[in-house]
């Protein structure tokens, strides 16, 4: 089934452009205000064709909540043909949607007066760029951790562990701090991956 997921603020004009330009059989609207009159109108219109509508409530100004909730929604419908319009709602919601689409390889669009298709590589996710050993390390990091302890927990050899840490730093998954001991901290994307494991 073709599912259009869209972010929504107050302005239904953008949603209408997306509804016109992007094909869908089900519409999922992510918003911080599901009580808006605009939804009654949209439901009425969509009922003509029997299109199912789902509305997901979110705190649009909490970036990480938006990011995680959008990720969960995409995962829930991963066996369907998902397309995402990222133009609605405040910038936090819109940016979270844009990042998650690239993260998960979901075709993304930005509908304003016209619809732009964004250059997402469909089906290619950022998660694929994290290898098994890096996952082992991420799993064992809790906020701020002593590198030596993590090395022991993962059972990785010293040299391999150091190379992996450098790689993770380069990829922006973790950051190192040296203050007598080396400590590893996960970045927001690293933390997101850890929560998913």
């Amino acid at each position: 089934m073709k599912i259009l997921i869209t972010t929504f603020g107050r302005d239904e004009a953008k949603l209408n452009v997306a509804r016109r330009d992007i094909g869908y059989e089900k519409l999922i609207i992510i918003t911080d205000n599901p009580e808006l009159d605009a939804f009654k109108k949209i439901r009425e219109m969509e009922s003509i064709t029997g299109t199912e509508i789902e509305i997901i409530k979110i705190d649009s100004y909490n970036f990480m909540e938006c990011f995680n909730k959008i990720g969960e929604t995409i995962d829930k419908y991963k066996n369907h043909d998902i397309r995402f319009n990222t133009s609605g709602g405040p910038k936090t919601l819109s940016a979270a949607a844009l990042l998650m689409c690239f993260n998960k390889g979901v075709p993304a669009y930005h509908s304003e007066e016209k619809t732009y298709k964004l250059p997402v590589i469909k089906g290619v996710s950022f998660e694929e760029k994290i290898n098994r050993d890096e996952r082992k390390i991420i799993k064992n990091i809790k906020q701020d951790c002593d590198a030596e302890k993590i090395k022991k927990k993962t059972g990785l050899s010293g040299r391999k562990f150091d190379i992996l840490l450098m790689e993770m730093d380069k990829k922006g998954i973790a950051r190192m701090e040296y203050n007598g001991k080396t400590r590893i901290m996960l970045t927001p994307i690293g933390e997101y991956f850890r929560k998913k494991m």
């Binding site: 910038k91 940016a95 844009l98 990042l99 590589i121 998954i173």
Partner: protein, 208 residues
Amino acid sequence: MVTIFATLGWEPKSVIPSLKIRDNVEKLIVYYSPDKKGESACEKLWGYCSSIKLPLKSVKLENQFDLIKTAKEIRKDLRKYAGKDIVFNITGGTKVMSSAALLACILEAVPAVYCNEKTGKEETLPLLQIRYEDFLTKPQKNILMIIKSLGGECNAVDIAKETGLRKATVSHHIKQLGDMGLVVVETSKKDSRKKSVKILESVELLLE
């Protein structure tokens, strides 16, 4: 030394936290909308930066409502700073400016930050530092480049000629690129017996 990029709205307040929390800021580069409010915000920022003797470069965008054009413009500048310590504050400006800046950051693996409206604090956005075009294989990139160089539209035979690959191999790559949503295969307007391969305007962002 770090260079801060930022999109600028009608007030410079969303840019300031990025300057305050960092030591050794070398330069600030801002993108602003080509209207009176954008220019006024830029003037205020000039005042602030000159008071702390921080070099400021302000870039007036051609059209703050054209997502792809804006992303291309920003990306071109980011490439000049490849390998240097940079960070992009995407809080200010129109949503299109902000989205275009984020898009450029994703493509160029530049750390992006956002100033929380409620707390006024800077938050790092969850973004991997891997250039997005590295997700494509060499032959895939090559074929996309060839389509672009042929005006954004051509057929499999043209690509086979340019690459020296067999037509069957080219067709296999085109099928893959189609599944990835990067090219569209449709009946040629010039000759209805032939199929033409097209790339979207936004896909050109992966190739520049």
